[in-house]
Assembly symmetry: C2
Homo-oligomer: 210 residues x 2
Amino acid sequence: MIRVAIAEDHQSLIDGINLLLKYEEDISVVGMVNDGEALVNLVNLKQPHVVLTDIKMPKMDGITACKYILKERPHTKVIAFTMFEDQGAVSEMIAAGAKGYLLKNSPLEDVLTAIKEVHKGGTFFDKTIDVEAASNPSGQGAKKSLLSKSEREILRLIGEGKSSSEIAEIRFNSVSTIEKHRKNMIRKLGLSGKGELLRYALETKYNFES
Amino acid sequence: MIRVAIAEDHQSLIDGINLLLKYEEDISVVGMVNDGEALVNLVNLKQPHVVLTDIKMPKMDGITACKYILKERPHTKVIAFTMFEDQGAVSEMIAAGAKGYLLKNSPLEDVLTAIKEVHKGGTFFDKTIDVEAASNPSGQGAKKSLLSKSEREILRLIGEGKSSSEIAEIRFNSVSTIEKHRKNMIRKLGLSGKGELLRYALETKYNFES
DNA sequence: AAAAACATACCCGTTAGGGGGTATTTTTTT
DNA sequence: AAAAAAATACCCCCTAACGGGTATGTTTTT
């Protein structure tokens, strides 16, 4: 019997997955939650074999939750289930230790296949994902984790609507430092215009709202 | 037998809805599509009684699709199914003639209830929605349609990443006109900073990407 | 017909963000 | 120990996007 936990902020989708798994003899859903913090608690409590988690969720995103889970219970198999067909998100998820990556525009059957596959010790990634490029960050052609720690933090603050001077205050930096980081990010990411960085922050980052 | 069409860009959610409706004797799903244009075609072809549609979809958003559908086939019952818990979106959808409004974080059972209800000639709106405020735009406390036609179009272009000068070229206006509209919108919407308008455009508009 | 809202377009001035540099210190990787 | 990457901070210069006005013609509403 495979014990499965699900984290996803759209209840309707959880219900759909449940309908699918209900008729599977060898799978039992041990819990369903709507945010990342609740997921971490649930895993510690119920100790599922497989975790299916969204990335963009309230309170804690799925990548962070994955790290917490695998630190506590390293044998848990984590599968990402998200709408981000984004190389960066895939890389981060793989780096965090995920064993699978599903897209919401794929058929629901894939969920079943993926759960069984990772439980057997394998992996399951959506066909559209280039696992090679995402998992080996050393390759020349890869855009990889591109941004450094500071840069990512600053990007997050940009996504929260902060100005450079506000960010400078928060991080105890000078304004020019923040602006330097902005410029470096724009160059690294190959962006052009003014609002582009904000657009990028809003569209890419998985953890805003609530 | 209630004939239902579904439009939704996440295949997994469609599959979930299908699992739910499959066991209903009096409901048959006549088609499922992943974008707004395909929905309009599907409705003309299969003439369903009830249409369940997402708002944010590729090619054409659900609000526009709803208008097209009801122009051609006024007796079709349209239900919005979306993650936007947004007064403006609800208002626009009601104005377009929708008979129901569901949220994706609600239980999937609601879909079933809503389909049956609207088919009987009724309406079904999620409990969290203030139908009164949304359907009568005259009320004093409502923020209503606030923005004028030109302003909305400019806001859409801002959401697409266009600069003021680019927008000016597209609309054959002077740059100062576009900037004037920007300022008026910022004032009307009570926004402050630089990126705020872009944030608003990205977060509010339902029809970007693809 | 009068009033209100909208669309157009200009003025002046300020500033945050960005393009393109350089430099120093710390951390990480090799 | 040496090299590379990251973090800090400054320089100059330029422009888009503001804030806050005014003005004029066109719709729309009352």
